[in-house]
């Protein structure tokens, strides 16, 4: 009996050595701040100086009538909508084309994936240059082709800046979503293609009848990932427009950052971030549930 006890004791010691550091680090620097953040959402804490006072659900009540938050939600949904459409369907088309390549595969796929390995700051600087009104390559090219009246202030014009952000995000991450589709395409057995070609199916019916149904699992993955990507859009805003012009391009992520770090309203910022987080989780669950039912088993 005492032997069993020592063995158990030794098992505990081993578990402590193996699991302890991870639980300690993750518990202290991820879980604890998240829990504290939730607690702060019920207070008027500034984040730096005064101690927090409990204010109940006041922050959430303020949120309901906050025009800036409403604007941030609108802009985030606008970006997310474009991002989701493009990353789910645009990269699907690109992946199917890339899958049909017979030579120079690695090189061509490598080119499309390349921007994904660059820092968002690098991507932002490149796009800031391309779209600069006076010196940017896009406007210079338009002017040199005699289309000067098409030249725009892409980053400052409130009507265009949303598309500027979208173009930047789309360019940098399309390779990632395409790669996920390519991995899925490679699992489709060659016999299916052979059977289709015997039946005289063209590329379009191969796509609609074979590839698309078998790609549904990755459509689900990409849809969910692109939604999360869109709703969490944040760093890209900080390094380009900083929410401007006005607060036209403030996403909810940027708004939280602005409230918490620049505006010293951490209690309210926490309330905003938990509201957004809850909405995101709900959307992701609905998406997964809806698309699970459409999956085709191989």
């Amino acid at each position: 009996m005492s032997g069993a006890a020592t063995r158990r004791g030794r098992g505990w010691a081993a578990s402590l050595i193996l699991c302890g550091p991870a639980v300690l680090l993750y518990g202290t620097f991820v879980v604890l701040p998240a829990v504290l953040g939730f607690a702060y959402s019920l207070t008027d804490w500034t984040g730096w100086t005064t101690e927090p006072n409990f204010v109940g659900l006041d922050n959430f009540r303020e949120l309901a009538g906050d025009e800036r938050f409403a604007s941030a939600v609108r802009f985030t949904l606008f970006e997310t909508w474009m991002i989701v459409l493009f990353f789910t369907f645009g990269s699907l088309v690109l992946a199917v084309l890339l899958d049909r390549l017979r030579s120079a595969k690695g090189l061509i796929r490598g080119l499309f994936f390349y921007p994904y390995i660059l820092s968002i700051l690098v991507v932002a600087l490149l796009f800031k240059y391309l779209c600069n009104y006076n010196h940017g390559a896009v406007n210079l090219l338009l002017r040199s082709m005699g289309l000067g009246h098409w030249a725009q202030d892409w980053m400052m014009d409130p009507r265009l800046v949303g598309y500027f952000i979208f173009a930047m995000v789309a360019w940098s991450a399309v390779g990632f979503f395409t790669t996920l589709y390519l991995a899925n395409l490679q699992t489709i057995p060659a016999e299916l293609y052979e059977a289709a070609s015997l039946d005289g199916a063209g590329p379009v019916s191969v796509f609609t009848r074979i590839q698309l149904p078998l790609l549904v699992p990755t459509v689900t993955t990409n849809l969910v990932l692109a939604t999360i990507f869109g709703i969490n859009l944040f760093g890209q805003i900080v390094v380009t427009t900083e929410g401007g012009p006005g607060y036209r391009t403030a996403t909810v992520g940027y708004y939280i950052y602005w409230l918490g770090v620049k505006n010293n309203r951490q209690g309210y910022a926490s309330a905003v971030s938990f509201t957004v987080f809850a909405a995101l989780v709900a959307v992701a669950i609905v998406q997964v549930a809806l698309l699970r039912r459409r999956q085709v088993q191989l």
């Binding site: 030794r10 081993a14 953040g37 820092s119 992520g253 770090v261």
Partner: protein, 277 residues
């Protein structure tokens, strides 16, 4: 779809896609070209070749912007975080995977939740925590944050891979009197090498490229990592010196680009590993 007939032929589709790919990365090529030009030349005609190929802009990156030290700092940070992650994460994953039902499952969920938490939620409470610990705006704080932040994904990747490793080897080691910790380091860890390489690539690239979290955790003035420094330098300038911007962008992207060209397959695999949940 006659795949077999035209195998390995370079046809119109390949030509078209190659052109499209080249157009796709043309902003990078433009940056490379313009990094060798002077500012008036760039403003005058961004597509023209430089009048004189000069390394002046690159020299400025190291003399004027003093980016050499931050580059070293970033490298050391990458090495430190990776060293912590590839010891702490696989140990935890091993312990979770080899545990009897209840506690193992509980721990799994505990770590999986971390994959869904956005950075904005923990941002300011985390800074407060570092202030209480008296390590605010230090490299140690950033290291602790990077490691803790990276743990859930690493544990997830390691556990998925560990499920494919047969248990017989471990059982043999246990019979030979090897304890659980010893078994892990001597038997299991070497088998995890492909996974460890994935983790090294993913987090190495992520930390080198990270701007946002280093900027927030270490503050704009103390943060001595490359992209924070580049950002700070560019923000302090009143004039847009495009030539310096391009040279900076090129210098900081060259290391990752070279590695990418050499190990493209591993890179693509490593960077998409976290997505297939």
């Amino acid at each position: 779809m006659s795949r077999r007939r035209n195998r390995r032929r370079f046809g119109w589709l390949e030509g078209l896609m190659l052109l499209a790919g080249a157009a796709f990365v043309s902003p990078c090529l433009l940056a490379l070209l313009n990094a060798f030009k002077t500012n008036p030349e760039i403003i005058g005609d961004p597509l023209a070749l430089p009048g004189r190929w000069s390394w002046d802009n690159f020299r400025f990156i190291f003399t004027g912007m003093k980016l050499a030290r931050p580059m070293l700092n970033s490298l050391l940070m990458c090495a430190g975080v990776i060293a912590c992650l590839v010891t702490v994460a696989p140990m935890a994953a091993y312990s979770i995977m080899r545990r009897k039902m209840a506690t193992g499952k509980l721990l799994r969920v505990f770590f999986l939740v971390g994959l869904t938490v956005p950075f904005q939620i923990i941002m300011v409470p985390l800074l407060k925590l570092f202030r209480v610990m008296n390590i605010q705006f230090t490299y140690l704080a950033l290291l602790l944050h990077y490691v803790s932040w990276g743990l859930p994904l690493c544990i997830f990747i390691y556990s998925a891979f560990m499920a494919t490793i047969p248990r017989e080897l471990e059982e043999a080691a246990a019979i030979d009197g090897c304890g659980q910790v010893g078994t892990f380091w001597r038997i299991v860890f070497p088998l995890l090498t492909p996974c460890t390489i994935t983790v090294i690539i993913f987090w190495g690239l992520w930390i080198w490229n990270d701007f946002m979290q280093a900027f927030i955790v270490m503050g704009p003035t103390r943060g001595q990592l490359v992209f924070v420094q580049l950002w700070k330098f560019l923000n302090d300038q009143y004039v847009r010196n495009w030539n310096h911007i391009f040279a900076g962008v090129v210098v900081l992207s060259v290391p990752v680009t070279v590695l990418y060209v050499v190990m493209q397959r591993r890179f693509v695999k490593g960077l998409t590993a976290g997505a297939v949940k």
